[in-house]
Symmetry: C2
Subunit: 209 residues, 2 copies
């Protein structure tokens, strides 16, 4: 297996943390996103959607998208489970993962990609150019602020995002909260539960990934 990564990007960080929690080490190929290597023909042959992370399996099969990479790893390396053991756990974990991916990581990306000069005509990932839409900067920022609020409320009632145990949604939420710094949105005194949780998950060795 070869892991196509970008050390500075939030999406592949989810997979890096997932791998670290599994105790799995894989060879890594850095993809130069700033240099546009993900849009070139060599990378496009691996992932026509032109995004990292990508897991290139030994038979040449490529798995891209955070969720798909983690589904693969969960099945290939079941211990410790990060996506639930029972059917109900799997469902609840997938539910919270979706909420954090869309309303956390997605919200921050919406604000960032529609405003930053470096993302001109790259408001969405993929092969097609999409112009920035200024209203989406405000919408993304509003949604990102909502994300911190509901994550704090959730963590006031639950030790971890999906329940009593550290799991996949905590990985996504850690990446989302840290990613929100890019748009200068950070938890504050009104987010005590979120701050408690963030300190705890940031202290895990995997958070360095």
């Amino acid at each position: 297996m070869l892991f196509h990564d970008c050390a500075t990007a939030p999406s592949p960080r989810c997979v890096r943390i997932f791998l670290a929690e599994k105790g799995v080490t894989v060879p890594v190929q850095q993809v130069d996103l700033m240099g546009g290597k993900h849009m070139g023909p060599a990378f496009r042959a691996l992932n026509p959607w032109c995004t990292v992370p990508v897991l290139e399996l030994d038979d040449g099969t490529c798995v891209s998208e955070i969720d798909a990479c983690c589904q693969y790893l969960e099945a290939a390396y079941p211990e410790p489970p990060l996506m639930g053991r029972t059917a109900a756990e799997k469902g609840v974990i997938a539910m919270w993962a979706h909420r954090v991916a869309v309303d956390g990581i997605g919200a921050v990306a919406e604000a960032l990609r529609n405003g930053a000069k470096g993302f001109k005509d790259r408001a969405l990932t993929g092969i097609h150019a999409h112009a920035q839409i200024p209203e989406l900067v405000d919408r993304g920022r509003t949604r990102s602020a909502h994300f911190l609020d509901w994550l704090d409320a959730r963590l006031a009632e639950s030790p971890f995002v999906a329940g009593d145990a550290f799991a996949y949604p905590d990985i996504l939420a850690l990446v989302a909260v840290d990613f929100a710094r890019w748009i200068r949105i950070t938890p504050g005194d009104t987010h005590p539960a979120l701050n408690r949780w963030h300190a705890a998950v940031s202290a895990r060795p995997s958070a360095q990934a």
Copy 2:
């Protein structure tokens, strides 16, 4: 288990088809989205994100979001598998599912919700109002057209979306293609592989769900 559904909405249709493919029948509660019942306190207690589908399990646990409902059902009713048997199959299926969900269903929803009068201030699902953004109608339509194009290209090289067997991404893609009719985007003569596939999956009894 109680399935909170809305017979006219595309998202819960994914779960209806999934259930039908599993041969599982569950009690159904229709949620009156047009009447705003999903925003009321009773439904919000089940799903604070105010969306269908929701699977309410016998112990009161609620699982919302298409992907999470299907992950639950796949684990609870493993046969026939719709999300892969091997780790590689699970990863590849999750990858295609993500692509269809975001670039198919998500693209059509972007065009529809930002333009239709009935979605004024409801450009995104959830408890918070989000104003419609006219540019997103055009972007959503462009993305929906791209979706049909790449789905056709994919189905020219593969019998089903994720490979040789009917699976979860075919369910999402069927719903996405049918949902695109709502914005008057339909496959045409330039999509022969998509048309072949659409006829085949539409002929399955589950497509009536």
